[in-house]
């Protein structure tokens, strides 16, 4: 059954493609069941807070490609965060010992005039300017709410400019209003790469493994090296040449299938690169399954068994100690969908209790459709039920929930959410590096970090004592999901 259609300029949004939802409250097991039997419906809220949009997530994938440029066709505010991408770009460059340079991002600066008369001319100028300034191999053009509503024909202009400039000028349709699921922006960027950048494989490289990730530490060179494999991290910090040849790899793995589902499935379906379909490699059970599946796909079964045995033996003494010290500590988890599931696995593996978890959205299925990749079901099967909700980064729900549950520690991704744990006086940490908890060593990393975090709560206690929450007493006494409407 073909799922990835590369003939259309726009990627189908997650709501329609994966049945994704932004609101749910119940248990993890029930969510899995209802995702399968079709009874899960989206639930709208009558109160909402700032979240994120697909423009931001699309740009985060293409902004760090070393020899590409990005033109954001939007008013200036949509590029307000370019400085932050610049920051991430520099951090990545510094880590790799590269020369530090600004990210190659331009904004077409739509103003009132363009809104009335159309922004096409300006976009063309911006694309030409990007070519002159950066001499890129590819120019990606991202759309915005404004360009979408005024109806600029961005895809058409990109084709025209491809002709004029002699390099691919590729549109990425990521208008914020198109989808409530901002992960749709990842898909939009990957759609553009699959359609316009990648080439069919001329040769195969049996050792090369595509690793879809953000910008975590390089841990796979060592792990894969022991299997005779080489990681190929994508998409940030790659080159266009590297992306053109993604098709040569022996397999694609992902550290978080919320991020990479579309690219991995597209690589398999259109370029014959098999996707490793397994739960995420967090916690022992997940890591075992993930590596075994990688071994099966690449013919490295024997090597994988050695790796698993060695790693488990290596971590065993410290893991036992951490389990003893963390037994019964209550940890609340909040993160993007699959990464959240992964964090639950880690905490349960460390012997902790998980009184609740709240993820930003939920995909009923992944693009490959294989139940082996269902990371939430994996958690339920391995570790039992967990109270579970989907809150679309709605901090009013989260604050209410945390305030009731009062966990010993709050583990969260996304900057805007972390501070709420701290303001409630709950020891909190935010781990930006998605590889930190990965694999066997990741368990130890998390165990140590959690112990450090709960050891001295002085700052969060002080903060809690001296800040007043922005919410009314009334709200804090309501049921946390009181504003989540009934499913349609």
């Amino acid at each position: 059954m073909p799922t990835i259609n590369l003939n259309t300029a726009e990627v189908p949004i997650r709501e329609s493609r994966l049945g994704s939802v932004t609101g749910y409250k119940g248990s993890a097991g029930e969510l899995c069941r209802r995702s399968r039997d079709g009874s899960l419906k989206e639930r709208e809220r009558s109160f909402t807070q700032c979240a994120t949009c697909a423009s931001i997530t699309a740009i985060c994938q293409v902004a760090m490609i070393r020899d590409a440029a990005v033109v954001n066709h939007a008013p200036l505010g949509c590029a307000g965060d370019f400085g932050n991408f610049n920051f991430i770009n520099r951090a990545g460059q510094a880590k790799r010992g590269w020369r530090l340079a600004n990210a190659k991002l331009l904004n077409s600066n739509l103003d009132e005039q363009d809104i009335v008369f159309g922004g096409g001319g300006k976009l063309k100028d911006a694309v030409r300017e990007a070519k002159t300034r950066f001499a890129p191999k590819v120019i990606f053009v991202t759309t915005s709410c404004a360009s979408g509503i005024i109806g600029d024909d961005v895809a058409g202009i990109c084709e025209e400019m491809t002709e004029e400039l002699g390099i691919p000028v590729v549109s990425i349709s990521c208008e914020g209003f198109r989808s409530q699921i901002w992960a749709t922006g990842f898909d939009a960027a990957y759609h553009a790469i699959l359609r316009r950048v990648m080439k069919p494989a001329a040769t195969r490289r049996p050792d090369l493994i595509n690793v879809i990730n953000f910008w975590g530490e390089d841990i796979f060179t060592d792990l894969f090296g022991r299997l005779g494999l080489t990681p190929n991290y994508v998409v940030p910090f790659t080159t266009i040449g590297q992306l053109e040849r993604l098709s040569e790899a022996a397999a694609t793995v992902q550290v978080c299938s919320t991020l990479g589902t579309y690219l991995a499935a597209g690589l398999e379906e259109h370029f014959g690169v098999p996707e490793v379909k397994a739960p995420s490699p967090y916690g022992i059970a997940g890591t075992d399954a993930w590596f075994r599946e990688l071994g099966r796909v690449t013919g490295k079964e024997a090597e994988v068994e050695v790796l698993i045995a060695e790693e488990k033996e290596r971590i065993a003494p410290e893991l036992a100690e951490l389990r003893e010290r963390l037994a019964g500590v209550r940890g609340f988890v909040s993160a993007g969908a699959v990464h959240g599931h992964s964090l639950i696995a880690i905490l349960r593996e460390l012997g902790m209790e998980v009184p609740g978890a709240c993820v930003w959205h939920h995909d009923k299925r992944l693009d490959h459709g294989d139940p082996r990749g269902d990371s939430l079901q994996h958690v339920v099967t391995e570790y039992g039920e967990v109270p579970f909700s989907v809150c679309n980064k709605q901090s009013f729900e989260l604050v209410n929930l945390l305030n009731r549950l009062r966990p010993d520690i709050f583990i969260v991704r996304h900057n805007g959410m972390a501070v709420w744990g701290a303001k409630l006086g709950i020891p909190t940490f935010l781990m930006g590096d998605e590889h930190f908890g990965l694999g066997y060593e990741g368990l130890l990393n998390y165990g140590r970090k959690i112990l450090d975090t709960i050891t001295n709560p002085a700052f969060v206690r002080n903060l809690a004592r001296h800040t007043r929450l922005p919410y009314t007493e009334w709200w804090l006494s309501q049921e946390p999901f009181a504003f989540l409407g009934e499913g349609a």
Binding site: C50, G77, N102, F177, K393, W475, F483
Partner: protein, 444 residues
């Protein structure tokens, strides 16, 4: 002046922006609302607009968090396709209604972005329905209508039009305008320094943004005897409107004074405007100057050893640029090579800004002045100059610039945490020396 260099780099595609030095009008109104403590912004926009500002205004403004009402706690209508097609008024209505139940705030500021303006929502009408239930204003700031500076002015305009009532004048009360939150990197510190210096001279000061009671501070604006605008251009519109509506005169202090010399003349200037007894000012000046010049002895060695008569460049918003250029030239003996004004001031104020940057300098060297916001063009300008010290934004930090010592002093700066730090006032000059010297004295 370098007419050739100017022409070469400026003419290409004038509007395209690489790594912009401000955000949209929504961004400016949003940070202004957050800075008026106790004000909850309500964004009527796409879901990503507010988060973009978190990275693009708050983190960019010296790695600041957004506070209680910012970031993911900001109510937002998160408009999607169905609203684009059928309108977003109903969504906004229910959002405001639920916000009043859930979010505890003194003032609610509905800030509308690009989408409602493009689809023609009548936001004013919806907001009006709630006027009797809470203090609420509507700041109409489609993103494409301007930048962060304009957004700040839109916010003040909405406050003046929709919130302020005439009040009897309070003697010796002044409002401080023109220091745009987050865009003036050291806004919190600068406002507090100005407030405390003036208070010691017997003035009552309403700094409006970052006062403890934000709504109270806003409402008190009409009571002032005088408005002081600390920018050659931002905030003047608001001051004019306040003059028209409440008969409050205003004075433009076109830059933030850095170091003893300019701070002293600023104090005497205000003294004259408010008819303060001269001895009040004398006392403050005497105490502060003693310590400022005593401090200069402490940094004297490292200054003459490390950076004597340095050729320096400044890249900053106009008010910051003028203050720093004057302090560097007139008090530290540096040689101003170039100034790039990065806040895109309107055409009509540029001559005055150029004048303030080139006249009244002790050094024979006068800076070349550029008006530029695009990072690439700024890079091209820098390549044509050799500097020993560059005061800029963190975007310039890793540009190849020879041996130049670098310190970020302007927006955006992602490489520093800035909360109370400021280069304003007497101690500000010392702080600047500390920070600059730390760049070359350390970390060996």
């Amino acid at each position: 002046m370098t007419a050739t260099a100017t022409a070469e780099v400026i003419d290409l595609y004038p509007e395209v922006a690489e790594a912009p030095r401000y955000s949209c009008a929504l961004g400016g109104a949003y940070v202004a609302a957050l800075a008026a403590y106790g004000t909850a912004p309500i964004l009527h926009s796409g879901a990503g607009c507010g988060i973009g500002q978190q990275f693009g205004q708050n983190y960019a403004g010296g790695q600041n968090a957004a506070g209680n009402y910012g970031n993911t706690s900001t109510p937002c209508s998160c408009l999607v396709e169905e609203h684009v097609v059928f309108g977003g008024e109903e969504k906004l209505r229910s959002l405001i209604d639920s916000t009043l139940k859930i979010v505890k705030a003194d003032l609610y500021a509905v800030i509308s972005g690009c989408i409602p303006s493009l689809i023609g929502d009548d936001v004013d009408a919806v907001v009006k329905e709630f006027r009797d239930k809470a203090s609420i204003i509507h700041v109409k700031t489609a993103g494409f209508l301007g930048n962060s500076y304009t957004g700040y002015e839109h916010f003040l305009d909405a406050v003046i039009e929709q919130l302020l009532e005439p009040l009897p004048k309070e003697k010796k009360l002044v409002n401080i305008l023109g220091l745009v939150p987050s865009q003036h990197l050291h806004w919190k510190g600068s406002l507090r320094v100005i407030k405390s210096l003036l208070e010691r001279a017997g003035v009552k000061v309403n700094i409006v943004f970052s006062e403890k009671d934000g709504l109270g501070a806003l409402k008190r604006i009409p009571a002032a005897e005088l408005n002081l605008v600390f920018s050659p251009w931002v905030g003047i519109k608001a001051a004019e409107k306040l003059k028209e509506k409440f008969d409050t005169p205003f004075e433009v202090i076109p830059f933030v004074p850095v170091g003893p010399r300019d701070t002293t003349s600023f104090l005497y200037q205000v003294g004259k405007l408010l008819n303060l007894p001269k001895k009040n000012i004398d006392r403050v000046v005497k105490e502060e100057e003693w310590w400022a010049y005593r401090s200069a002895e402490y940094f004297g060695d490292i200054l003459v050893i490390g950076l004597p008569h340095a050729f320096f460049g400044v890249i900053a918003d106009s008010g910051t640029a003028i203050g720093l250029t004057r302090y560097g030239s007139n008090e530290l003996g540096w040689l101003p090579e170039l100034v790039i004004v990065s806040d895109n001031p309107p055409e009509e104020s540029r001559d005055e800004i150029r004048r303030l940057l080139t006249e009244g300098l002790a050094s024979v060297v006068k800076p070349k002045v550029f008006f530029e916001t695009d990072s690439h063009k700024i890079k091209l300008i820098l390549q044509k100059h050799s500097l020993q010290l560059l005061l800029g934004s963190s975007l310039e930090k890793f540009l190849p610039k020879g041996e130049a010592v670098f310190l970020s002093v302007s927006f955006p700066s992602y490489d520093r945490l800035i909360i109370d730090r400021t280069y304003a006032g007497y101690r500000g000059g010392v702080a600047l020396m500390e920070d600059v010297a730390s760049q070359y004295a350390g970390p060996l």
